[in-house]
Amino acid sequence: MSMQALNRLVARSIIDPSILQAFGAGQIGQVLGELDFSPEMRRTLTGLESGSWAEFAIQAYGVVKAAEKPAVRIQLPSPMEGLMAEQEQKRSEFGQVA
């Protein structure tokens, strides 16, 4: 949702001078508060330091994109697993013999 909100904000900014005024006055947080950003994302975006609205938008895009990217986790089986199963089997076979 954050990316959609950011898209809407940047799209609006090309015809709505109030966004630029809020940004220039250091009050972009208020504008972000009206959009569908999580409180944490709003804080992060409000804290970005940029020299212009366009630069802010590009930085915000990077932040939102990174947050929306699902965390990549590589889940390989432990190399121990195969050995442990083998050991278990040997142990139970040994038990049966005994």
Binding site: N7, I14, A54, E55, Y61
Partner: protein, 165 residues
Amino acid sequence: MNPVTREERHWFLRCLAQGLFEYMGAAAPPIPVEGLLQHPPDTYREDFGVVDMYSTLWDATFARPPNGRGSVFVRIDLKPAERRFALAREVLSALITSRHGRAMGLVQLLMADLKDSAEYFARCLVVPEPLLNAFRKRGGQQAELAEKFGIPSGVAGLRWEDSPA
């Protein structure tokens, strides 16, 4: 300004095109780009205009006379599809050099790659994402895009590739 990737720049341009598309309120193609230039948002009252010209040099070019209103000067003998795209491309120069655009920081972001930016922006403006998605959903094919949106076929091909389904 920090270096900006092509992908970031294109995202930004898509947003700008979307903002203007929403302002126009076009529900169906073709997009009235000339109407946008003749009846611009208040922010661009002094920046948008269209002037027909007889020239063999350019298809269209944006110019801002000193102390005057900016206008796109467009060759009078262009076909409607070529005219629509040429006007859309020059809208970006009008935005960048406008008071609002300069205050946004568009000069620093877009001037270095103006040709690529202007053509990408124009493709997004003449074929806005929501209308392209609707066109695809109704089974529209690439070959029909140019005719449906009233744009040159080369532009339609690139737009189709820009935004894979």
